[in-house]
């Protein structure tokens, strides 16, 4: 029977092309490359696909397995050789990727989304200003605990540009001072204005699901007898991790939870009043707009039409009612959740 194993192997390889999305339509081909694999990017992909349909282009959407420049660039370099006419990329390290991106921008239409590399010669940036979004989170914390208190910050990592922006935004808003340089250098203090930073630094989990949950649980155990605690989750899975561990310890309501991104569990928690609110970025539109402008450029469109300003972040709360001091649009959690479900459904 052994020869059949060899035959089976050969036929698997021969059958590989059946798994591909290759259509060979002869349409203009554009690519979107994210920074890692995440539900956030699945929403983005739905938008990108819809846009590819609307703008009549072929789309390659790739999510690198790891949040690492080496994995991302391996994909980008290979894609460039498949004859794409445009590339949208979520930059991982703006400063260090700039030389590579500059070279790529000279070969194809390049635009950045989600995270920018301003000096790379990219055509435009589609995404929010993470520092401003972080300040929005900080304002939410201040509204939840007007007297001050203890704040614990949870995040995937503290090394990326996005992470620096968000953390600095939160802490600067709490203190009313600009600490960006310190935070980029990894320096933290115990006291920021009326708030004490738990463990004197943000707590990281490398976006590993069990660590996300364990970190939140451990902090809750440490802080369960401390008054006025706010727990801030700055990556997609963090508010969910905080909420789930608070539920398991029956501490919901005793601590304030403030979130980032539109994880379904986060939105559900806001709707039930368990989470104060979340700052959202609109990944669906990142995908939609990226592909739209890549198609525009590939078809010889005018550069002047490209967007020039960062996309505005938005706030999601239980009621969606106007809040004093908030200038960005505010959505009602249940309606925002439905909007995402609908767009994911339409992307299928």
């Amino acid at each position: 029977m052994r020869p059949f194993a060899l035959v089976a192997f050969a036929s698997l390889l021969a059958a590989l092309p059946a798994c591909t999305g290759k259509s060979g339509t002869g349409k203009v081909k554009v690519a979107v490359v994210t920074n890692c694999t995440d539900p956030f990017w699945t929403i983005c992909e739905a938008g990108a696909k819809q846009s590819a349909k609307d703008n009549d282009v072929e789309l390659v959407f790739r999510q690198p397995a790891k949040l690492e420049v080496a994995s991302q660039m391996e994909i980008v370099e290979a894609l460039l050789k498949t004859g794409i006419k445009g590339l949208a990329i979520s930059v991982i390290n703006p400063k260090e990727q700039t030389p590579d991106l500059t070279r790529i921008a000279s070969q194809v239409n390049l635009l950045t989304m989600d995270n920018d590399a301003e000096k790379s010669g990219r055509l435009c940036y589609i995404g929010i200003d993470n520092y401003e979004a972080g300040k929005e989170v900080g304002r939410m914390v201040k509204r939840a605990l007007p007297e001050g208190g203890t704040v614990a910050i949870f995040i995937g990592e503290t090394t990326s540009h996005n992470a620096h922006g968000r953390i600095a935004g939160v802490l600067d808003e709490l203190e009313g001072k600009d600490n960006r340089a310190d935070i980029t250098a990894g320096k933290y203090r115990e006291q920021y204005g009326k708030f004490k930073l738990h463990r004197k630094e943000p707590i990281t989990d490398s976006t590993e699901p069990d660590k996300v949950l364990n970190n939140a649980s451990d902090a809750l155990e440490q802080l369960k007898n401390t008054p006025n605690v706010a727990m801030v989750g700055l990556y997609n899975s963090n508010p969910k991790g905080i909420l789930e561990s608070a539920r398991s310890k029956s501490l919901v309501g005793k601590i304030k939870i403030v979130g980032f991104d539109e994880n379904p569990v986060t939105l559900e928690g806001i709707d039930k009043g368990e989470i104060e609110g979340t700052v959202v970025q609109d990944p669906y539109n990142y995908g939609y707009e990226s592909v739209k402008w890549l198609a525009h450029m590939a078809k010889g469109g005018d550069k002047k039409a490209l967007p020039t300003k960062a996309t505005q972040h938005r706030l999601v709360t239980k009621t969606g009612e106007k809040v004093a001091g908030v200038e960005v649009p505010i959505y009602k959690a249940s309606e925002y959740a439905k909007k995402i479900r609908d767009s994911l459904e339409a992307g299928k």
Binding site: R2, F9, K81, G186
Partner: protein, 395 residues
């Protein structure tokens, strides 16, 4: 049908071709500023291929171990060639060879440790730590060459620690290096809180820009804007492989390593200094991992303390096994390691060129590797005997 003659001839032939190319290019390149680098690469290529040919030790047993990976590679490369007309463009081939070189450097280290009956799970973290240390040193003004030296010394220290813990305290290599995996990752995050990189080093110390670019050009073949002009990492890998080939197949040390891996106790009774040899192998492995860290930073331009080099140990071990290394120890050929390291980068490249669905990618990669291993194992067990018999029976 003598395998040694065929393979030996192939490599001697390749060496001759490279040598001829080198000589032919010598004159025009003398007129170019890049000339010296090309000469060095071609000379190294010729040297290492010649050494590999010289040390080739292809008993029937070894040959059988290589058939599987050669078939797997041939099928993968064939599929890649058929997938798109641009897949075989020079730029893509260079990109592939470059990545294969990077993987090969750690594969050699991983394989030697497995050969002597150990395992090293800390490779990925050591690569990460070295990349971060290399960048951090340069950011603080240490010259690139001195940084390279310090990082290699770090690799020696790591290997020595692992080796001593395994041999003197008689701890399991699996556990020691698993702990190392966490420890060295932590060290990487301690020494730098942010992503390190060449641009930052050059900004901090503009006077070093030229030497950083020079080292990058020499070791990874990239220009300052990141364009790949030559797969220099492949040359680096082949150089290491050929040196290891001499040790493995032409020196007493190599004989000892095979003996230790095959039967530790028998080696001890035969009077081999098992502990010393083991420590030496751990040192070689970690030093190669440290060197790979330097290559990673030079190639990618940046390293993130949280994840640089993550899970590379698993790719290295897989490549070693595909290249004919037995996880039980005692089996390894230098040429097998070179071939084994070629597989994974081709698979990754293929995923892009075939536009494999995102969700299908992990299982497709896993299945290719699994079926490759199965085919390899079946061939290995009886060297086509059953296939021949099968067809003879039919006839």
């Amino acid at each position: 049908m003598n395998g040694s003659v065929i393979f030996g001839g192939f490599f001697a032939g390749s060496a001759a071709v490279v040598l001829a190319l080198w000589l032919a290019l010598d004159l025009p390149l003398r007129l170019l500023p890049l000339g010296n680098r090309y000469q060095l690469w071609f000379a190294s290529l010729a040297f290492s291929l010649a050494l590999l040919a010289y040390t080739l030790e292809l008993s029937r047993r070894n040959l059988v171990r290589l058939v599987g990976v050669v078939v797997l590679l041939a099928v993968l490369i064939g599929t890649l060639a058929a997938s798109s007309e641009t897949a075989f463009d020079r730029s893509n081939i260079f990109e592939l060879l470059s990545r294969q070189g990077a993987l090969g450097v750690i594969t050699i280290g991983a394989a030697l440790i497995i050969l002597t009956g150990g395992i090293d799970l800390s490779i990925g973290s050591v690569v990460g730590l070295s990349a971060v240390a290399f960048g951090t040193l340069m950011e603080s003004g240490v010259s690139p060459v001195a940084s390279l030296g310090l990082v290699l010394a770090l690799g020696v220290a790591v290997g020595l620690t692992n080796g001593l813990l395994v041999t003197q305290l008689r701890l399991q290599a699996f556990l020691v290096t698993l702990c190392g995996m966490f420890v060295f990752r932590g060290f990487a995050r301690e020494i730098n809180k942010k992503q390190t990189g060449l641009v930052l080093a050059k900004e901090n110390h503009p006077e070093m820009a030229e030497s950083i670019d020079g080292l990058r050009a020499l070791l990874v073949g990239k220009t300052e804007n990141g364009a790949l002009e030559f797969p220099a990492m492949l040359v680096v890998m082949l150089l290491f492989a050929s040196i290891v080939a001499v040790i493995l197949h032409k020196s007493a040390h190599g004989r000892y390593w095979f003996a230790i891996g095959y039967n530790d106790r028998a080696a001890r009774y035969a009077g081999i200094g098992v502990e010393r040899q083991r420590i030496a192998v751990f040192v070689i492995g970690s030093t190669l991992a440290a060197f790979a860290g330097v290559l990673l930073l030079l190639n990618t331009g940046t390293a993130d303390p949280t994840n640089a080099g993550g899970s590379l140990e698993l790719y290295a071990i897989t490549a070693a096994v595909l290249g004919g290394v037995s996880l039980k120890g005692g089996e390894c050929t230098a040429i097998g390691l070179v071939l084994g390291a070629l597989v994974q980068p081709v698979i990754n490249n293929l995923m892009t060129f075939l536009e494999i669905r995102q969700s299908a990618e992990p299982w497709v990669i896993g299945l290719i590797l699994l079926l490759g291993t199965i085919a390899d194992e079946l061939i290995r067990r009886d060297a086509f005997g059953s296939i021949r018999r099968y067809f003879l029976r039919r006839a």
